[in-house]
Subunit: 210 residues, 2 copies
DNA sequence: CTTTTTCTGTTGCAAAAGCAACAAATATAA
DNA sequence: TTATATTTGTTGCTTTTGCAACAGAAAAAG
């Protein structure tokens, strides 16, 4: 995704004084925002890593999305239902911009640089989000844990332009991301190793096929 | 989603002569487009219903998305990988607008009304798509067939403002949409009926809880 | 109206996944 | 540095899901 670089400088140099945009920092483990479907909040992750986490009424945890630099998120993108708890948790120290959806097009009176660039580039940011979500759906629609693992690994391998790559998650979180039982996933990982499909060293995976 | 109404008249009255936008009609069962990740194609469904369908290398079919009036789709939203076949199939007669992503912002020389409105409203169309995809992910991350069914039913019920609603799918397609085995899903539907959670009459479902 | 195709409903059996529990290894905090 | 918490790895057992196969119902095609 090379469009990211277009925003890099802009977001780093960001120093808009208008009241409609807030910049906040979070430490690892802190909650960046909880989705409550009242405000029309949108967030841009300037730096760090974060997960959108859901707990359903069974207490099952899912990692809905994993966010990295310049990813966009917030309750404006989500129809929140009552039997879910949804929040975004910082997995590393994060800098985040907050604003509401209405401000993207109804520009603030200041006519500041931020809003000018944002309204131009907003679609590209969302377009990127859509492709990420589609990739996520592609993995989730795989029928078996094995296919989910291999599908996800293959995406990471492609992104990294190498058969070897680091998982962006702990194995515990990976299970929540793939929406499967952790011990069942561990069993499958072991089988994939034993059958010679992958090599695994902590969070470093190497694909041995094709 | 009441923003849809804003577009209704516009898209129906559409009569742009510029070469960058094409309007085509399809009969039920026809393929609207195949995703090949070469062009940056975007489509808007003016009328009808269509499914984005994937066959993976095992031959398993998934319905990735179900499109209705004013939904937006196309390979611009998808990172196509080699071991998938992806295409959009008309489930009813459809009218579709085709254009490429670049045209959304690099407006055509004609400066036609279509592009003017499109560039203003494009973000809202995508935003709507993002919420749909998130809803889709919410269902797919449920761990059991039962929870997937109940989760999906509850969404349809909310949308229809009624405990009773019609499935937009055949039961065969519903299984592909939930990404589960059809016979296992039928078994679960029967249990849900027998245990008094739902009433079912063909494609008409009534929720009997809460 | 008849034939053909698709969809629904069902079942027995096999395979996969979930659950619970625990020990060892790491990482984090005091 | 020691104590505490989290993650990894593993396993037996249970439950859920998938697969294959088939018959009847409904829909589409001729």
């Amino acid at each position: 995704m090379n469009f990211t670089s277009q925003f890099e400088d802009f977001f780093n140099d960001f120093s808009c004084n208008c009241k409609n945009v807030q910049k906040k920092s979070f430490k690892k483990g802190q909650t960046i925002t909880t989705y409550i479907q009242k405000r029309n909040q949108i967030c841009i992750l300037q730096n760090g890593e974060a997960d959108l986490v859901r707990y359903d009424f069974n207490g099952d945890k899912s990692i809905i999305e994993h966010f990295t630099k310049n990813d966009i998120f917030g309750e404006a993108f989500y129809v929140v239902t009552t039997n879910n708890e949804l929040y975004v948790e910082a997995k590393k120290n994060c800098d985040v911009l907050f604003f509401i959806y209405d401000n993207v097009y109804q520009k603030c009176r200041n006519n500041c640089k931020f809003h000018q660039v944002l309204s131009e580039k907003f679609s590209e940011l969302i377009l990127n989000k859509v492709t990420n979500l589609n990739t996520r759906i592609e993995i989730l629609t795989k029928r078996t844990i094995r296919d989910k693992l291999l599908g996800y690994f293959s995406i990471l391998s492609t992104r990294n332009l190498s058969a070897t790559f680091m998982l962006p998650f702990s194995l515990t979180d990976l299970a929540d991301f793939l929406s499967v039982d952790r011990s069942a996933m561990m069993r499958e990982l072991k089988l994939l190793k034993d059958e010679g499909f992958i090599k695994k060293n902590g969070n470093k995976i190497t694909l041995l096929f094709k």
